[in-house]
């Protein structure tokens, strides 16, 4: 047992000091009927590293890795190149094996990067303050809705039809139990919805994703004004955070809360998790914000230092009156985000965004030329929607058999919805080559033939 440092001799010596004959005696409070006398049946005994490696590597080998084939999947998770130094820093034991920085004297490393992270998030979203991360974009969105209800003391949320359905479902699940009214709009592949008429005096918030699920960048200014006129808040959701390197940030368009899925920067696809939710808002709302906050202060010698702050919002202090029940968040993913963003800087982040956009422009033009294929978007960032001449899911499956990951069929997210089954979401990032695009175009031509 390579992880266990006690020997039998140690155990005997320790039991002697404790004054019990054996370890079983320490479990005397366990009801006798529930005590197990031996290792649980039906599970294997301990294995060496080589054996575990072999077993798990075998499972891993059964998956088609996105990086090994032309891959164009998005819909809330994006494959970007992460510099090698990012992961190496994460693996430093002082970061990896530390706890939430409740003891600031021995956690200034974590605290300082969280402070830097908060600043970066506030900057890219165009907001005043940001927290130290949420689980992911979807849970962050639900928290934003709850925050809006606390701030407005209203209980209706209007959800755009361009909001990722996972986010929509998490909002419905989380806010539904509190009796909120969730006015979720129908999916909006062609960017025609008008949310203004839905904003009324009962509305706590309107939630809009930009670019939308279908890839449409949304100008939020008018909607923000309408919300504010009615005393509602505008929550902007960004699932592809790289878009903030090119598009006017929601904060500059009047959003009150901005939630992003931060995975694209610093974090691999990971089959959906762990990811990192970014959460930013106006300074005046900060005491209703969920999640951890790191703040600047001074130490006993007057030196600048950092601590977790405004903990009275949090469950470990405030218990049932907390702004959220969140405790563990996404610290290490936030570290990955902040290191990658540090490497990019403003110039690199903007260039990365332009590169993504340029790839998508090139790809959309090429796909639009495939017979039978229609590009629904006049505008997009790095992802757009195709209408195929037949249901998208089997086409995607056929392309997967040719080792091309063509994109996400909308029916995967909205199964059985008429009018959506022929739609395909296609994303391009800086990792896609010309050869990748050739493969997709030719593959699609063949499959549609």
């Amino acid at each position: 047992m390579r992880y266990l440092p006690l020997t039998e001799a140690d155990r005997q010596a320790m039991l002697a000091r404790i004054g019990v004959p054996d370890v079983d005696a320490l479990f005397r409070d366990v009801p006798a009927a529930a005590r197990l006398r031996a290792p649980i049946d039906g599970l294997p005994l301990h294995m060496g590293e080589l054996e575990v490696d072999r077993l798990l590597s075998g499972m891993a080998a059964k998956n088609l890795t996105a990086g090994s084939v032309p891959s164009f999947l998005g819909a809330g998770a994006y494959r970007h190149h992460v510099p090698a130094s990012v992961d190496q820093m994460l693996l430093r034991g002082e970061f990896l094996t530390s706890y939430t920085p409740y003891q600031p004297e021995v956690a200034q490393g974590t605290l300082q990067y969280l402070y830097e992270f908060q600043t970066q998030v506030a900057e890219i979203t165009g907001m005043e303050v940001a927290n130290a991360s949420m689980y992911d974009g979807a849970t962050g969105t639900a928290e934003a809705v709850l925050m809006a209800t606390r701030l407005t003391r209203r209980s209706k949320a209007v959800l755009s039809g361009g909001l990722h359905p996972h986010y929509r479902e998490v909002v419905a699940t989380t806010c539904g139990v509190l009796g909120m009214e969730i006015a979720a709009q129908a999916p909006d592949p062609t960017d025609v919805e008008d949310l203004l008429p839905l904003v009324d005096d009962a509305t706590a918030c309107v939630v809009v994703q930009t670019p939308s699920l279908f890839g449409h960048p949304r100008d939020l200014s008018e909607l923000a004004a309408a919300c504010h006129a009615k005393g509602a808040l505008l929550i902007a959701v960004v699932t592809e955070v790289v878009s903030l390197g090119l598009l006017t940030p929601p904060g500059e368009m009047g959003a009150d809360i901005v939630v992003c899925e931060g995975q694209s920067i610093g974090n691999p696809l990971n089959f959906g998790g762990p990811y990192v939710g970014l959460f930013a808002t106006r300074e005046k709302f900060v005491r209703q914000m969920p999640g951890r906050l790191c703040g600047q202060t001074v130490d006993a010698e007057g030196k600048r230092g950092f601590v977790l702050t405004l903990s009275t919002r949090e469950q470990h202090i405030r218990r049932e009156k907390a702004t959220s029940n969140i405790c563990t968040n996404s610290g290490l993913c936030a570290l990955a985000f902040t290191i990658h963003m540090a490497l990019l800087g403003g110039e690199g982040f903007a260039r990365l965004a332009r590169l993504n956009h340029a790839k998508a422009v090139a790809l959309s033009d090429r796909l639009a030329a495939v017979p039978g294929v229609e590009v629904l978007n006049g505008a997009f960032f790095n992802e757009f929607t195709l209408r195929l001449p037949r249901p998208a899911a089997p086409v995607v499956e056929a392309l997967a058999q040719r080792r091309i990951l063509a994109g996400v069929p909308v029916s995967r997210l909205y199964p059985g919805e008429a009018g959506l089954e022929t739609l395909l979401l296609v994303a391009a990032t800086e990792t896609n080559t010309e050869a990748d695009m050739d493969a997709l175009v030719h593959g699609l031509q063949e499959v549609l033939r």
Binding site: M1, L4, L6, R17, I18, V30, A33, A34, I40, L43, M47, V52, L55, S57, M59, S85, M89, L91, G93, F95, T97, S98, T100, P104, T110, Y115, Q118, Y135, H166, V170, T173, L178, P217, L244, L246, T248, E252, N270, G273, G295, T297, D299, A300, Q315, H316, E320, N325, S330, G331, L332, A334, L344, G346, G348, A350, H357, G378, A379, A400, L405
Partner: protein, 492 residues
């Protein structure tokens, strides 16, 4: 050397990545304008690497020292698990790839679920919760859905012992329940009588931590479970302390209806300075039909993901997060479980309990133990031994830092005055425990000699001395802003 903020390293014109210049083509952004300023600092790769390396050096971690934070289970994080989680076959797959291309990933989730169900004896497990508190939410939502299905949506009261983690009442409230506190007994346990006194037709559930936050196994747990069930409520068990009993007790045999499992505690996925975690929830037969989406099923032609209510057999209460759960954490936890095996997991729990009892037995003559032993995997002390010294538990804990140890948890659980909660975990050696014990004994002796100044001034050897948390909260500074430019020298 002091480490500046990243923003103070800004040197416009350098960049830590090299990206090709995008072809100049017309932007297709519709009505949204390209953004203007983007005030992020420009820093080269060497400087970035040095910045984060130096920042890391200001942290304690399990890798650098014993980290006996009670309730946090700071055990060794094997690097094998990190290596496995980084296999491209797990880390480089998209959550919405055709399921035919991710059969290995679904197999892994299914196998991990099998381990969790077998270890706990429970028939079902919801895998998607992202952390412990998220798992609590999952459990309470399943309970809510089950109550609604029974037509008993009026049950809105959730019983929570005073000693519970803050997440318990917070979650119950987050889920729309009213929280009703159960007082702790003098012996640190919850009594069946106290629970019964609170039961009634409006009780939805009890949330009980076991082993509890005083480090004790609740001896009446089975009776409590029976009483709650008899009253029509469900038994939610907070599994944060599951590390003490893995392989020695199956929660199913204690009458548990739902229990989250902190993979990042019990199964050693790294805490990472605050996450990510993963909090799967095992469910009883009564709650299983309400498990959230998505989940993995094994059909005739391989594994399949049930992602939508329409495809589900039961009545899922909904979706808790984007995509399918914390895959990266699943891989790590499974690597840990396979490495330990059924025998090793039981041994780990036994050693965790043994280590805590050893600490308790070795210190109870100089520090005030809150309860008679044996304890489970945590040893709880209170501040009686500091009485009259002018030294607080905080002072005492901070003094540990200068001795090279991370402090224990302080002032929690709340039911004990000036609590000092020590969780050594099973991955500390007797040699390290003896050093730790010796250090604590010396500090306790020193405290009793009245060397108040020493403790108030601790720590002294850290990059920062004690930080002013009050000032931080009074006028929060939550982000860096560019300092106003210094006025040009008057001489000019």
């Amino acid at each position: 050397q002091e480490e500046p903020l990243l923003f103070e390293l800004d040197n416009p014109g350098v960049c830590g990545v090299d990206l090709p210049e995008p072809p100049t083509a017309a932007l297709r952004l519709g009505k949204v304008r390209p953004r203007g300023n983007l005030a992020l600092p420009s820093v080269s790769e060497p400087e970035v690497v040095r910045h984060y390396t130096r920042l890391s050096q200001k942290n304690f971690g399990i890798d650098t020292t014993m980290y006996p934070l009670g309730s946090c289970t700071m055990k060794h994080n094997p690097r094998l698990n990190e290596k496995m989680a980084r296999l491209p076959g797990f880390s480089d797959i998209h959550p919405l790839q055709p399921v035919s291309t991710v059969q290995g990933a679904l197999e892994l989730i299914d196998l991990l679920a099998h381990w969790l169900k077998t270890l706990t004896g429970m028939p079902a497990v919801a895998m998607s919760p992202a952390a412990g508190a998220h798992g609590e939410l999952c459990g309470l939502m399943a309970i809510r859905a089950a109550l609604a299905a029974r037509g008993e949506a009026h049950r809105r009261r959730v019983l929570v012992p005073e000693s519970a983690h803050g997440t318990n009442p917070a979650t119950a409230a987050f889920c729309g329940f009213a929280v009703d506190s159960i007082p702790a007994e003098d012996d640190g346990r919850v009594s069946v009588e106290a629970v019964k006194a609170k039961l009634g037709p409006d009780v939805a559930a009890i949330m009980l931590t076991n082993p509890n936050t005083c480090g004790l196994f609740e001896p009446q747990i089975r009776e409590i479970a029976d009483a709650v069930h008899a009253a029509g409520g469900y038994f939610y068990c907070d599994g944060a302390n599951y590390n003490a009993i893995v392989g020695r007790v199956r929660p199913a045999d204690l009458g548990v209806d739902a229990m989250h499992i902190n993979l990042h505690k019990t199964f050693s996925t790294p805490h990472g300075g605050g996450g990510p975690g993963s909090g799967p929830v095992v469910l009883s037969a009564a709650l299983a039909p309400f498990a959230p989406l998505p989940y993995v099923v094994h059909g005739a032609d391989g594994f399949r993901l049930v992602e939508h209510a329409g495809e589900a057999e039961g009545s899922p209460f909904g979706r808790m997060k984007g995509f399918h759960g914390q895959m990266g954490m699943f891989v790590r936890a499974l690597a840990y479980m396979l490495s330990h095996g059924a025998d090793g997991l039981r041994q780990a729990a036994s050693d965790a309990v043994l280590n805590a009892n050893y600490v308790l037995a070795s210190l109870k003559d100089v520090m005030s133990a809150s309860f008679e032993g044996p304890c489970m995997h945590e040893a709880l002390f209170d501040d009686r031994f500091l009485k009259g010294t002018g030294i607080t538990p905080l002072d005492f804990a901070k003094a540990l830092i200068d001795e090279g140890f991370h402090p224990m948890t302080m002032y929690f659980p709340l039911v004990v005055q000036g609590a000092l909660l020590i969780e050594p975990t099973e991955t500390e050696s007797k040699q390290t425990l003896d050093q730790f014990i010796g250090t604590l004994r010396a500090l306790a002796e020193r405290a009793k000699t009245g060397d108040e100044e020493y403790f108030h001034g601790a720590p002294r050897l850290t990059p920062r001395r004690r930080l002013d948390e009050t000032a931080a909260a009074r006028k929060p500074v939550l982000r860096w802003t560019r300092p106003a430019p210094v006025a040009q020298a008057a001489a000019e």
